[in-house]
Assembly symmetry: C2
Homo-oligomer: 363 residues x 2
C-alpha cells in the first residue's frame, strides 16, 4: 500500500490516518466537517482533500447510516481501488453496500476493536490499534486483492486481523460488547433513585461494573438499533439465568420453611458463581493472550519518583518480560503494591532476583 | 482507646490491627489458625494472645457464622469492655448475637467498605480503610460508650463513619455490592461456552464489567445466602427492566413489520441508557465525593522516567489540588494521556499554567 483515503476524521479515522502516515503512506483526509479534517491534518495525519487519482484503499470511518452512500459515491468518483469501513455492526453495512449498488468485489467490511472514552480527532493516537483485534468480514463477492489491501491496513496499524462472516461478527460483538453495555446500564439505572446513604458507600466493584454505562447514549442508541436481534438473543439467555438466580435467592431467604429448596438454591448459586469464574477466565488480557496464563509477582514500592522506572529496569536486566502491570493505587499513601504479570515459568526466579536486589516481593 | 483485641487476622483484621498499632494502641491478636496470628504479629500488627485484663474494644474479624459464638465467648471470658464486628451482612449478625445470649449493650455491628482482590494477613495494609466508608449499625440496646469506642476505631483507621440501621445497611449492600456481583457473574457465565473467536475480540469494557466475577465463589456463596431476600428484591427490579429492554430490542429488530412498536422500543432503550448515565453519575469517586464534580485536565506525557512526578510537581507549584488521576495506559507506546481530575473552578487556569510551562494539554 502506498496511498490511502480516510473519509471521516473522528477518533478512529484520524488514528488510522496517523498510523498510516507514520509508516510513510500518502494519506488523504475528508470529513463532512472540514474543520475536523484540518485538525487531523495539523496533527500529521495526512492532507485534506480527495485524491485526483484512485488511492490503494479508502477507509470509510463515518457513522453506520452513511457507509452505503459514501461507498457508492467513492466508487463512482474513483477515490480508491478498494474500500473498507470501521462500523461496529457488519450485516447491516454489507446490506447497505448492496442496496446502494456498490461494486461488492471492491469492498470488505472491517471493525477495529479499539476505542476510548474520549472522541474526536484530538483524542486520536497512532497506536490506538496496537495489539488489538481488527475483524474483517469479506462478502462472497469480495476480491482477493481487496482482502489483501485490508490485511495490509490492519498490519500497518499494528493490529491483529480476525476474519469472520458478518453474522458471526455481529453475534460476537452482541455478546462481548453490546449486551454487556445494557447489563451495566441496567445496574447503574438501579442507582438513579437510590437513597443517598446507599450510594455513598459504593466501592470500586460497582464503579468498574457500571463504568461503560457512562458512555454517550446517542452513540449507543444507534449501535443497539443496528444489532438489536443478536443483542436480544444474548440478553434473553441472560434473563433466564437471572430468573433462576432470583428464585434461588428467594428459596434461600425462606430456608426455615423449605430446607430442601434452600439447599437446591444454594447449589444453583454456587454453580452460577463457578460459571462466572470460568467465563471470566476466558477473557483475554494484553495482546489477546488468556489473562489466566500469567503469574503475578507482587512488589511493594514507595511513591518516590522513578520507583516504577527502577523496577522495570530491574526486570529488564533480569531478562524478564513484563506482560502486564497492575498498580494498586490508593491516593495519599506512601507505599503501594505493583503486580508484575510474567510468564509462569520465570515467576519464581524473577521474585528471587528482585528480592536479592532489595525489593520487597510479597509471598 | 488504649488497647484492643483483634479476633481473626485475615486481610481485614490484620489491616485494622496495623492501623491501630501504628497509632500507639496496644493490640492483641488471635486467630483459629495460630500461624496467621503470628504472621500478623511479625508484620507489626500487635502481639499474639488474649489479654489478661479486658481491653477497650474487641474487633471480631471472623467469618459471619462464628461472630455470635465468638462474641458470647469474648464477653464471658472478659476479653474486652465492648465489641464490634466487620461482617458484610448485619441483620443476621445482630440476630446471632441475640441468639448467643450476648450482652447487647456492649456490642455494635460494623462493616468497613474496603477490600482487595487478595486475602490473608500478608495482603493487609494499615491504610486499607483510608477515606473509605465504615458503616456502624448500633442496635436498640447498644450503649453510648460502645458506639463511641467504635467511632474511635473508625477514626483511628482513617475511615468515614456512616451510621445505619441493620435493614437499611443490608439493602444498601445488596444494591451496591451483592446484586452487582451476581449481575457480573451472570454476564461472565455467558462467555463460558462462547466461541473462541468471540472471546478473542473482547476488550476492556467486558473485562471491567466482569472483573468482580473472578472473586472466590465460596466467600460469595456465604454472602449471598446471608443477604438473600434483599438481593432478590434488587435483582427482581433489575429483571423487570431487563425484560423491557429485550422486548424493545425485539421490536427494533422487527421494525419493518411494526414501525410504531420499533419507535416505542427505541424510546424505551434511550430512556434506559439515560437512566444508566444518571445512576452512574451518582457513584462517588475518591473519598466519597461525587465523581461528576471534578473536571478532567488531559495532559500528554512521554514514558520517560519521572514524567508523572514532574507533572505533579507542576500542579503543586500552581497550587492546584489533584483530586484523582486516570492514566490511559497502553503497553509499548511512547506517549500517553493522563487525566488530572481537579476542581471545576480551577481547571481552566490550571490548563493555561501547564500549557505555559510547556505541557501539551488536550482541548
Amino acid at each position: 500500500m502506498r496511498s490511502a483515503l480516510v473519509v471521516g476524521t473522528g477518533l478512529i479515522g484520524t488514528s488510522i490516518a496517523l498510523a498510516l502516515s507514520r509508516r510513510g503512506i500518502d494519506v488523504y483526509l475528508t470529513d463532512a466537517d472540514e474543520a475536523a479534517a484540518r485538525t487531523a491534518a495539523s496533527l500529521g495525519a495526512g492532507r485534506v482533500g480527495v485524491p485526483a487519482q484512485p488511492v490503494d484503499l479508502g477507509i470509510l470511518a463515518v457513522p453506520p447510516a452513511r457507509i452505503g452512500t459514501e461507498l457508492a459515491r467513492g466508487q463512482r468518483e474513483g477515490w480508491a481501488r478498494a474500500f473498507t469501513d470501521v462500523g461496529s455492526v457488519k450485516a447491516r453495512v454489507h446490506g447497505a453496500a448492496e442496496d446502494a449498488g456498490a461494486d461488492l468485489a471492491r469492498f470488505i467490511g472491517g471493525h477495529p476493536l479499539a476505542g476510548r472514552e474520549r472522541s474526536g480527532p484530538l483524542a486520536a493516537r497512532a497506536d490506538l490499534f496496537e495489539g488489538r483485534p481488527w475483524v474483517l468480514t469479506p462478502g462472497a463477492a469480495t476480491s482477493r486483492d481487496t482482502l489483501n489491501q485490508a490485511l495490509e491496513l490492519v498490519s500497518l496499524c499494528g493490529a491483529v486481523p480476525v476474519v469472520m462472516d458478518t453474522e458471526e461478527h455481529d453475534h460476537a460483538v452482541a455478546l462481548i460488547s453490546h449486551a454487556p453495555h445494557l447489563v451495566a446500564a441496567l445496574m447503574a439505572a438501579r442507582l438513579e433513585h437510590a437513597r443517598e446513604e446507599s450510594v455513598r458507600i459504593s466501592g470500586t466493584g460497582i464503579r468498574d461494573l457500571t463504568r461503560i454505562a457512562g458512555g454517550a447514549p446517542e452513540l449507543w442508541e444507534d449501535i443497539l438499533a443496528a444489532n438489536a436481534p443478536a443483542i436480544a438473543d444474548v440478553l434473553a439467555a441472560y434473563a433466564a439465568d437471572l430468573s433462576a438466580a432470583v428464585d434461588a435467592l428467594r428459596a434461600l431467604g425462606d430456608a426455615s420453611k423449605d430446607a430442601e429448596a434452600a439447599k437446591r438454591g444454594a447449589a444453583e448459586l454456587a454453580d452460577l458463581l463457578r460459571r462466572g469464574n470460568a467465563g471470566h477466565a476466558r477473557i483475554p488480557g494484553k495482546h489477546g493472550a488468556a489473562s489466566a496464563s500469567y503469574t503475578p509477582v507482587p512488589v511493594v514500592i514507595s511513591d518516590r519518583p522513578g520507583e516504577l522506572a527502577r523496577l522495570f529496569a530491574a526486570a529488564g536486566s533480569a531478562g524478564v518480560n513484563i506482560e502486564d502491570v497492575r498498580i494498586d493505587h490508593s491516593p495519599g499513601r506512601e507505599a503501594g503494591l505493583v503486580e508484575l504479570m510474567v510468564d509462569p515459568t520465570v515467576a519464581d526466579r524473577f521474585a528471587m532476583v528482585l528480592t536479592a536486589a532489595g525489593w520487597t516481593v510479597q509471598a
